[in-house]
Symmetry: C2
Subunit: 328 residues, 2 copies
Amino acid sequence: MKNLITDVAGLRVGNAQDPRIASGVTTVLFEAPAVASIAIHGGAPGGRDTALLEPGMTVESVNALVLSGGSVYGLDSMGGVTAFLRAQGQGFSVGAIKVPIAPGAVLFDLLNGGDKDFGGEPIYWRLGFEAAAVAGLDFSLGTAGAGYGATTADLKGGLGSASAQSASGFTVGALVAVNAVGRATIGEGPHFWAAPYEREAEFGRLGWPALWPSPDFKIKSVEPQNTTIAIVATDAALTRSEAKRLAVMAQDGMARALRPAHAAMDGDTVFSAATGLASKPATLTDKIEIGALAADCLARAIARAVYEARALPFAASPPDWRKRFGKS
Amino acid sequence: MKNLITDVAGLRVGNAQDPRIASGVTTVLFEAPAVASIAIHGGAPGGRDTALLEPGMTVESVNALVLSGGSVYGLDSMGGVTAFLRAQGQGFSVGAIKVPIAPGAVLFDLLNGGDKDFGGEPIYWRLGFEAAAVAGLDFSLGTAGAGYGATTADLKGGLGSASAQSASGFTVGALVAVNAVGRATIGEGPHFWAAPYEREAEFGRLGWPALWPSPDFKIKSVEPQNTTIAIVATDAALTRSEAKRLAVMAQDGMARALRPAHAAMDGDTVFSAATGLASKPATLTDKIEIGALAADCLARAIARAVYEARALPFAASPPDWRKRFGKS
């Protein structure tokens, strides 16, 4: 186990990033089309081909899912992934042409200090293509991919991942780009809200603060400069409706790891995917546990994203967790 | 401040319960129609007149909101509240007739040991009428109202409430009937998941366990015998869309206080209401804080519900928190 979403059989992950624009793209490619769905609980989402992920819609499985920086400009990245998939002969057939399905969501990193004069080239399209081209079982966390330019209310955000196994052997994983309106840590200290769910010392094993700070509500901005976007996956076989339930349950991990979350000026979104490569069917109890583990994995992945991040070399960049708390 | 939802100006709460059927009803009555909305994040909800609470629907305000035991039978309770409201001359006018709006949701307490042979009388209708008739600023918590027959995976559930004030003086409150598929406490010990949000010693001030138990997923049942239903309210003036956002943000309190939540076999639902009686308009920052406080209040109210509950005198009743942990 790598403690990455790639512990789930049947998928690979690729990152691409551009230091000049201080942004990037992360994509999950599925070996075979995976049943997928979505839960959008933030108030200001940005996405591409997300409507088809709802129960009742015809196309039930996807070839890829995409997370991107760049806000509305990042919505080009799914086009690059789509083109890459076509070049690989993927997608469902409509007559003589392939139609790859690669929905995705974006986060806002347009004021992070990078050079956002994108010019006449579709830079996010190219980053999407590149991320798909390098997809594998290993990938970087922290200041990487869709998390490259991400921030939280007070610390550098980033890309995180985690995985777990259910009691009866199903694998669950999460991948997240943390660009939260709120904080992943408690008060002014180094402790993570996700502490109860930590495995090993994946984000420093600091536990909880000895003294609890007064509740506060530090936020990054009341402008829509926020949004945490995530993908959870399992090797269980799920229906579209069950995948929707998985995405909704996984959102609880965001609630537990970030405070506040799901506000009017973020677009907090979770995609879910089921590769169905497990050797047995999941019972109803298994599915509850998979949902609960997806929430745990997402909470852990959020903490890992902030824990692994490194600040950008711009005045606008918030400090990273390690520098801020002297753990570097 | 009573640390109840009735700290929010412009509303009263009434409970009615029947020990024989081991169930009850709780209603919130608004002095003037309140802008209201809903977030249904569980997979198996039961409700009455909930569709009209979505953004885009014409009727934007309600006279009452109702929480009830009884599953599908409890859907009669909103009729009793509606009849009471009409007798008070409330409701909007359509020609010569009043149309009171009293949406509500139900929880499943049909296997808790009570006598569920309801016979030929509309017992929940009468409980709804009675709850409305006794509504006031004080009401009981624990084994009362809609929480009378409620349970969690391992302990007696119940009715809870809590309130808070924002930095700029808006009041927020929550009311909840906790009938969770999961647990409000951590592992086999007495500590509440909601501990980080506790004010004063409203649920015993136990903090966190010194040693964390392994993560587990004890659940009550894979049958739909679950559902936690809640109402959050504020004195801020909100639009219907803003009220929807408030309900969504408040669901994060359920995520933080219960594990698991939002599963396929619960109908976890949060109603939101804005009385608009505050003396000033809420800024966008105020609204984020109100949403975050609604989540906090709901988490606290869930812990208080379990903390205040007393077991029912039936073999089927799980123990209450105080007896189980020797704090009675």
